[in-house]
Amino acid sequence: MPHFTKILAAGLVCSTFLVAPAFSAMVPDGTKLAADQTFRYRVLDNINSLDPAIVEDVDTASVVTSIFEGLYNEDAKGNPVPGAASSYDVNADKTVYTFHIRPDAKWTNGDPVTAEDFVYGWQRAVDPKTASNYAYYLGLVGVVNADDIVAGKKPVTDLGVKAVDDKTLEVHLSFSSPWFVKTLAHATMFPSPKAVVEKFGVDWTKPENIVSNGAYKLVENTPGERVVVERNPLYWDNAHTVIDRGEFLTINDENQGLTRFMAGEVDQTDVPAGQFPAMKEQHPDEAYSVPQFCTYYFSINMADSQPNDGLKKQEVREALSLAVDRDVLVNNVLQGGQQPAYIFTNPHTAGFTAPTVPLEGMSQDERDAMAKKLIADAGYGPDHPLKVNYIYNTSEGHKKIAIAVSQMYKEKLGVDMEIQDMEFQTLLDRRHAGDYEMARNAWCGDYNEASTFVSLFDSKSEQNDSHYANAEVDKLLADAKTADDPNPDYAKVEEQVAKDVAIIPIYFYSKVFMQNPAVKGWPYDNVEQIWYLKDLYKVAQ
């Protein structure tokens, strides 16, 4: 991850939510609630750790956000709303944030939630001894000294966060950040109960030991089967919480998930690839497709060591990008409401205006004609066909896309794309090591600002699997860090990347799911898919 020093997110006017109302289950007057307020949610078998300092995947995060609470939560649209803190102050250059923790915020054991709990939680997250995958997150969002602590150069006590008193938390940032409050919904920024962690060690998250500060408390955690949480009567906003019990049920097979949804055993489950049109037709009130903050793309290896000379030519890469008929892929192969992608940054990113790259403005016939000309100009033809190798990890959806694209290449350009399927870990290793020609790739934003996407094109970025290096792009990204509005720079980065064809964007994700019509309050418009059990309710049917 590149470390930027200053990013201003347009469309994010922090002063307006200095003191915002709390957000909870918004039940309209006169609503008849269901007698049984249990929400059953399908998860994959990856509830790895309920320790907020360690959690890394979305399913686990959904459990952790129900049992813990950070300073600020997100509302249904993704805007920050007060959580364990009731308000904050910020200095003029937006480098010092002071949070005021609610007097009535309590842990499940009755102890008050204090500023010290947050200091301890954040220090744990960056402590090399904790060994968190997300240790870098605090440095990313700008907390002073976070990177040096992760590197073992400074003690954890040097972290730029301190408890002024029991209920006042002061955070020092290494750069001016108007969007810092937006980063607080991430589990890495949650508090930890020091006495409990020190007493039980790694066992502190076991149901019999855990002490948490969220709207729910953990009652069962059986890996591979289920995690059960129940309402926490000590939660400060318990009066506005409606759902009594949450069950996170492990169902690895999507089709089995759908069968169990139909049998009424789960309230929400993902729709398997290709089944959305049928579901939408048969169950129009239950099938949903909403935008998701991720981009699916092909990485092209541009490193000098990459042996395929064809891919080193810009016109060849451009032809390969032009020949991909994204409309066919999203409408005929995926069929789940995905959007064709011609750039990398997700169009739902706050403050970002997507540039219209030439590729997007053309019809597919025009693209195909241009692709044919480019590939011929590059010296490839029927008697001298271009050969490329494409790797992807075993999955029905990835396979369908690989086959469809190789077909398009063969028919339109006479290019032989050899597709090679492999285990996920093998793909990751080869992609990270630069041992490939073309590879399936996907990226989901960590926070709602365009740098979470475009920073991958920085030649120094560890996530730059394409080994793409363009001095102009590096300069634009550096400039963006100090610009008042970095979004024009981001747009220029996208334009340059589209010209160089460093990647082939394919589509923007959508989350395709079935939901029990009794469930209300789901944040369909939160593109990061951050949801809170406490904001939901079930109506009587």
Partner: protein, 307 residues
């Protein structure tokens, strides 16, 4: 006999050691690592994680320490994937689940299989025989990954009799479908083996002698034919028992039982080194025990075999 058992147990220890070393090497050679994700971890973060789990040490030392912890403390180490659990805890939680539905499946498969095979043999070429053979061929032709969704469609979605998944601490409605899905193909195999071996035994000379003595059909069957006819079935039952109690990935995944089968496959896919090794050792030990049990049973069933 006791000497034989002790000798076999003594051989089991080096066998397990070879298994550990071999699995350890295979695991390290496989690409990837347990902390790899779509997003590449910063180098420093990865180094901290490696240090936390001792993966920064030379590989021979990791192996020695691993074996030492097992021998001295019976400690299989922390899981890398389930970061707040140890491998001992994962096995302690998952194995009883698998053992429960595995034992039920074993009982169902052997009782139904042996009875069906015997019935088919003594009523050879009657409708009963055709019926039993039909069922076994059908059960064999439908693998459990087809059987499991069919069962849920019928019993969960159609009839609403049984929950489509979960374990619920082993409540019987949760156990029924995993047992049916797991036991059918074993049951079919047992029935097939039983039928052919029973037919062979019934046509042998000593049975003709027994019949000539004027013994009743039941005495001939239970007193003379059953024991020798069981011999090939027993050699199949050993591995079948181990196969069933160590769980089926398909059953675990489909019915979300939380058993050891899905943990095994997940740990392999996620390169959760310590969990793969822990479960491999468990499966290895069970296989060795299962084979030993078969050999002991052999001696009991067949008087010609003496150790």
């Amino acid at each position: 006999m006791l000497k034989f058992i002790l000798k076999r147990l003594a051989v089991a220890i080096p066998t397990l050691l070879v298994l550990i070393v071999f699995s350890f090497i295979l695991m390290k050679v496989a690409p990837g690592n347990p902390f790899n994700g779509e997003k590449k971890l910063p180098k420093l973060v990865l180094e901290n994680i490696y240090a936390r789990y001792g993966l920064d040490k030379p590989e021979w030392r990791q192996l020695l320490e691993y074996v030492w912890n097992i021998v001295a403390h019976f400690d299989f180490g922390p899981s890398f994937q389930y970061r707040d659990r140890t491998v001992n805890e994962i096995i302690a939680q998952g194995f009883p689940v698998t053992l429960t539905y595995g034992c039920w499946s074993f009982v169902v498969a052997s009782v139904v299989g042996i009875s069906m095979g015997t019935l088919a043999a003594i009523r050879q070429n009657t409708w009963l025989d055709y019926f039993a053979v039909g069922i076994t061929i059908g059960a064999q032709a439908v693998p459990n990954f087809v059987m499991a969704p069919i069962l849920t469609l019928i019993f969960s979605l159609g009839l609403h009799w049984l929950p489509g998944g979960g374990w619920n601490n082993g409540a019987w409605p949760n156990v029924v479908m995993p047992v049916i899905a797991l036991s059918t193909s074993y049951m079919a195999n047992i029935a097939r083996i039983m039928r052919s071996s029973m037919l062979e035994v019934l046509n042998s000379n000593f049975i003709r002698t027994a019949r000539a003595k004027g013994l009743s059909g039941g005495r001939v069957l239970f007193g003379h034919a059953l024991k020798p006819a069981l011999l090939p079935v027993i050699s199949y039952l050993g591995p079948a028992l181990v196969g069933m109690i160590t769980g089926s990935v398909v059953v675990d995944v489909f019915f979300s039982t939380g058993g050891i089968g899905s943990a095994f496959v997940n740990s392999a896919l996620n390169r959760d080194y310590s969990t793969i090794l822990g479960i491999t050792i468990l499966l290895g030990a069970l296989t060795i025990a299962g084979n030993l049990l078969v050999d002991v049973l052999y001696a009991w069933v067949d008087p010609k075999i003496r150790y």
